[in-house]
Each structure stands twice: as structure tokens, then as C-alpha cells.
Amino acid sequence: MDACDSEVKRKAMIQIENVSKYYGKKPSLQGVTLKIEKGEVFGVLGPNGAGKSTLLSILSTISKPAAGRVEINGLDLKKQAKLVREQIGYVPQDVALWEHLTVKDNLIFWSKFSKQRVSKEELYELCRTVRLEEKWNEKVSSLSGGMKRKLNIAAALIHNPDILLMDEPTVGIDIQSKLEINQYIRDLACHGKTIVYSTHDMSEILSLCNRIGVLKSGVLQFSGTIAEAREMVKRKGFLPNSDEKLIYFLLQSERAEKPLP
């Protein structure tokens, strides 16, 4: 995953400063501060209700933070939401496709939502990239779960965004499709896309992400690389014998220390 590190220039694509969000009186995010760089695959970890989806919905301009500031590629998320939307591609937790339409029509329809015109040839090329070209004229309802997930990701890439926000994009699919999607995500990162990836799957985190952020009850417990996490845990006197156990420890522990910038 670090093979393409040198190819991309490091630049802060996402800057989150002290962001909070409440649903009613219940806090969903509390004072989250985070910086994600260009070409990075940033894994967002946390148990159910930790605030992962809330963080992604804020980054994708779907909901607004109650407090704090978010900058996406130098654009203020609150003031320049429309411009921000051209920079991001959002892959929701569930498949967001029109089941009664064909693969082709789904991609065409999603292309209508972007500012730029995307040709049918470009859409076919995108379809080919996710290996769905044979299903081009088939209805989405006839596709397998894995294929739908791939198309779900392709739909977010139609306007060639710099940032991809993925909310558990491989949940509930077979291992083969999951591996294909993971490889595709790695390729995207190598081509300079910044990816924020929310998942429960520890193996995905370990194989995909350059850095991780651990959320618990809306609070960012830790952010940094796996190596940094290992160092921090070691300082606390815990010596995990595997990365899975390390992440498990991070998820269980209270706020470890001040999150790394």
C-alpha cells in the first residue's frame, strides 16, 4: 500500500477542526480534529454508533456540523458546499442505485448530477474498470451483491472526484468481490485519490489503510499509522501480538492520548 507513496505529492485534502454534531441532545461527534492527506487511504474505525457515518455524512455535505470547521481541498465545507461536492464522491453504506434501471442507465443518470458532462464512452470505460462491462445493458436488480457494490463505487467516481468517502462499501459481500474492490481502492489511491474508508473489518483496515482514526462515542480516540498505534499502546504497557489485537485494544480503550494532528 505504500508502493505508490512517492508518486503523489503530500497535501492536506481534508482538514477537520474541532467538529461536533448532535442528534437532539445526544452527541454524535465531539471535538473531532483530523487531517487527511492526498493519496491517503484513511480508515475510520469504531463500534456501531461511534460516529463513523456521521463523520462521513458531514464530509459529504449531507449534514452540517454543529460546531467546528471543515476544509476540503482548500474549500470551506459550510460556505462552499456546492464546490465541495464536485471534489467528493460518496459511497453510502447501502447500495444507492435504481434497481429497475440498467447498469448503463444508472451511470448515465448519476452523471446528470455532476457539473461536467460525461460521455457514454467514459461511462463504459468506468464500467470496464470495475469489470462490469458485460452487464452494461442488464438491470441492476439482476446483479449479484458484489456487482452492485462495485457499481455503487463506480457511480461515485463518474465525475472523477479527488476524494472518495466510503461508508462500509464492502459490507455483506463475498470475499472474492471484497478483494477485487480493495484492489481497486488501492489503485485509486495510487492514482492520487484520497479515500476515507469506514469499516468494521479489521483485515480491510490493515490491508488498505495508511492511517486510521478510531472513534468511540463520537470522540476520536486515536489517529495515526498502525506503527504509531503500536508505539502508543506499548507506552501504555500493552504488548499485542497481532495487529488485530492492537486495533481491538484501541477500540476498547478510553481516549488514549491527544489525537495526532
Binding site: S60, R85, P92, D94, A96, L101, F113, K115
Partner: protein, 384 residues
């Protein structure tokens, strides 16, 4: 420049799906014509069943039976006494009329009392009306006889020799002809009514067609808004993160649907005009186009509250029926009480089915619809 590519795509999608076209065109237009025709036919076929027993078997009694048989709103059974009683008990007939023996003889001697008996049951409802019809026919016979008798008497008093039988018959037939096509001095109730407000009433839903059209159009608007329920979960979520965003999508999608509903309305206007249900006036067409706009606002607003597609269909159907009843889609409910008259003002059917005295101004309905649209969009953006 406004990007309408979503609208074009939606229009193409609607055109490609027969079910959508069926809901937009057949439900309001086809069902209105079919059900309207059935209602109209049913109204024409509404006849009161009565039984008649002819105990006299005379020329006059046969003539009376024939004339009653030819009455449009009566269905006559000529039966024996036993059968008549059974039919009355089984409610097969509303009432039974017995032309008693000596009917002709008594009429000829100028006696009109107790010449016809009436049998009724507790469930007889139209006996009074039928009695009037029979009394009228009996009066016709009596007056014919009286007039003929009087003419013969006049000639006799003047000492003029005539063939009494021929004169009597001539006078009888002349008097009888005065009842055709209708009795002399008949008050022209219908004519006076139409002269006062004939043109307007044609548009106020006297015909069942326009009333039914308001119901089926509203139903069609609700049924074709079900896509909101289907898409408002994850699709709306993703759309909100796109450049054009959810508001644009909602406006363009509903705009595309409104185009089809407007086209259906224009088609209905043309067909109703051609079969003389309405007067083809531009103001009426405008009101007819405003109607689906208001209905769509109601349906989108209602869809913004509903989560399950099944409950949306049930609630919509009940909602449309209640609004249909109170708004006057099925019958002129405003004629029942002043409260209902006032209440009906606030329903969209008021745009088409009421006269000017009880009409809320069209701009108010349009403004209300726009407010509903805005509330629905706001709710759909916020509630995910």
C-alpha cells in the same frame, strides 16, 4: 443556464414504463370515462318496481296499465293478486296497485273515489310518487270523460241533433290529445332553471364525469408520487452529496411528472369538451391544470411523512377518498349543509366543482400548494 438533464431523463423513464403511463393516463382519464358512463347509465336505469293487478279488464283499465308501463322511471309487473302479495313481501316491488272491478263503469259515471287500492309494505319508499303518477293518469281519463260528457250535454241543451256516440268520442280524443306531449299549463321548471344558470351549471360538475375526474386525477398524483418513498432512503442521501443536489432532483423529477399530468389534463379537457361534458373555455383549462399541481403538492407532502410503501398506498387511498367525499368528487356534498359547503371550499375540488359564490381564489390554492412543496422538500432534505 438551468440544467434540465434530470427532467429529460425522468421524462424518458416515464415514457419507457407502461405502468407509469397507465397510472398517469388511464387512471384519471380512462377510469373517469368508464365509471362516468356506468354512473350515468345507472342513473338512467333507476326504475321503481311496482306491481299492478287489473281486476276490471276493461278498455280504461288496460289503457291505464299501458300508460303506467310507458313511464320512464317505473318498472311495472302485471300480476295476479297472490303473486303481487308475494312480491311485495319479498320486496321485489315497492308497492302494489289494484284496479278494482267496475273501474271503467265508475269513471264513466264520474266517480273517482275508491277505484284503485294501494298495498304497501314498511319498506315501501316510492309509493307516494307512484300514487301521484297513477292519480295523474286517472285524472286524465276522468277529465277526458267529463269533457266528452259536457260537450254532448251542451249540444243536447242547445237542441242540436248530433251523433252522440261520435261526438262523445271526438270530444274524448280531443281532450286526451291536450295531454300530449305534456299536460296544458305545465310549469317549465327545467327550462327556467337552465335559462338562469345553464352554462355555469354545466361546469359545476352536474355531470358525474368532471367530479370523477377530480377523484381519479388526485389518486393518480398520489400513486405516481410513490417513487419518493422508494428513493428517500439511500438514494436521496447520495443525491444530496452531488453537485446538483436533492432540491434540484426533487424539482426536476416532480416537474417531469407534472408535465405528464398536465398533458393528461389537456387530453381530458379536449375529450370532455368534445362529448359536451364541459365548455371548452381557456379559464377552465387553466383551473384543470392547477388542480393536478395542487394534488401533486399534497401527494409529495404526504410522501415526505411516510416511510413504508405499503402504508403510503393505504394512507393515500384513504386520504384521497376522504378528500374526494368532502371535496365533492362523488356527489355535491356542499348541498347537504352549510358547514359542508364552507368546508368544501378548502378542498382542491373547489377549483372546478363549485360556483363563484363558494370559490376560494385560485392564487390561494396555488400559494398553498407551493408552501406544501417547500415543506415537503425541507422535510425530505432533513429527514433521512
Amino acid at each position: 443556464m438551468v440544467n434540465l438533464s434530470i427532467t429529460y431523463f425522468k421524462i424518458r423513464e416515464i415514457l419507457r414504463h407502461p405502468l407509469s403511463l397507465l397510472l398517469i393516463f388511464f387512471v384519471p382519464l380512462g377510469l373517469t370515462l368508464i365509471v362516468g358512463h356506468m354512473v350515468e347509465k345507472g342513473q338512467k336505469q333507476l326504475e321503481i318496481p311496482i306491481a299492478i293487478i287489473d281486476e276490471d279488464h276493461s278498455d280504461f283499465s288496460r289503457l291505464l296499465v299501458d300508460r303506467i308501463s310507458s313511464q320512464a322511471k317505473l318498472h311495472l309487473y302485471k300480476v295476479s293478486g297472490e303473486n303481487a302479495e308475494r312480491m311485495l313481501l319479498k320486496n321485489d316491488v315497492d308497492s302494489v296497485f289494484v284496479i278494482k272491478k267496475g273501474f271503467q263503469k265508475r269513471l264513466l259515471t264520474g266517480q273517482r273515489e275508491e277505484i284503485i287500492d294501494v298495498w304497501t309494505s314498511p319498506s315501501s319508499i316510492a309509493e307516494g310518487i307512484v300514487r301521484e303518477v297513477i292519480a295523474s293518469e286517472t285524472a286524465r281519463l276522468t277529465s277526458d270523460v267529463k269533457a266528452a260528457d259536457w260537450v254532448v250535454k251542451v249540444f243536447k241543451n242547445l237542441d242540436i241533433h248530433i251523433d252522440q256516440s261520435k261526438t262523445w268520442n271526438a270530444a274524448y280524443h280531443y281532450t286526451d290529445s291536450q295531454w300530449e306531449p305534456e299536460p296544458l299549463m305545465t310549469i317549465q321548471y327545467d327550462q327556467l332553471y337552465l335559462e338562469e344558470s345553464g352554462e355555469d351549471r354545466k361546469e359545476l360538475g352536474d355531470s358525474p364525469y368532471l367530479r370523477l375526474w377530480t377523484f381519479f386525477t388526485m389518486l393518480s398524483c398520489f400513486l405516481t408520487s410513490d417513487w419518493i418513498i422508494r428513493e428517500k432512503g439511500v438514494l436521496f442521501l447520495r443525491i444530496q452529496s452531488t453537485y446538483h443536489g436533492l432540491v434540484s432532483y426533487l424539482l426536476q423529477s416532480t416537474g417531469a411528472l407534472f408535465l405528464f399530468h398536465s398533458f393528461q389534463t389537456m387530453l381530458a379537457f379536449y375529450i370532455f369538451g368534445k362529448i359536451n361534458i364541459i365548455q371548452m373555455r381557456p379559464e377552465l383549462l387553466m383551473l384543470m391544470i392547477v388542480y393536478p399541481f395542487v394534488c401533486m403538492a399534497l401527494s409529495v407532502w404526504s410522501a415526505s411523512f411516510t416511510k413504508q410503501i405499503g402504508s403510503y398506498y393505504i394512507v393515500s387511498f384513504l386520504f384521497v377518498i376522504i378528500i374526494g367525499i368532502l371535496g365533492g368528487s362523488f356527489f355535491p356534498v356542499q348541498e347537504f349543509s352549510s358547514t359542508l359547503l364552507k368546508l368544501s371550499m378548502f378542498f382542491p375540488q373547489n377549483l372546478l366543482l363549485s360556483n363563484d359564490q363558494v370559490k376560494i381564489h385560485t392564487p390561494l390554492f396555488v400559494s398553498g400548494a407551493i408552501v406544501l412543496w417547500m415543506l415537503a422538500i425541507r422535510r425530505l432534505r432533513e429527514k433521512r
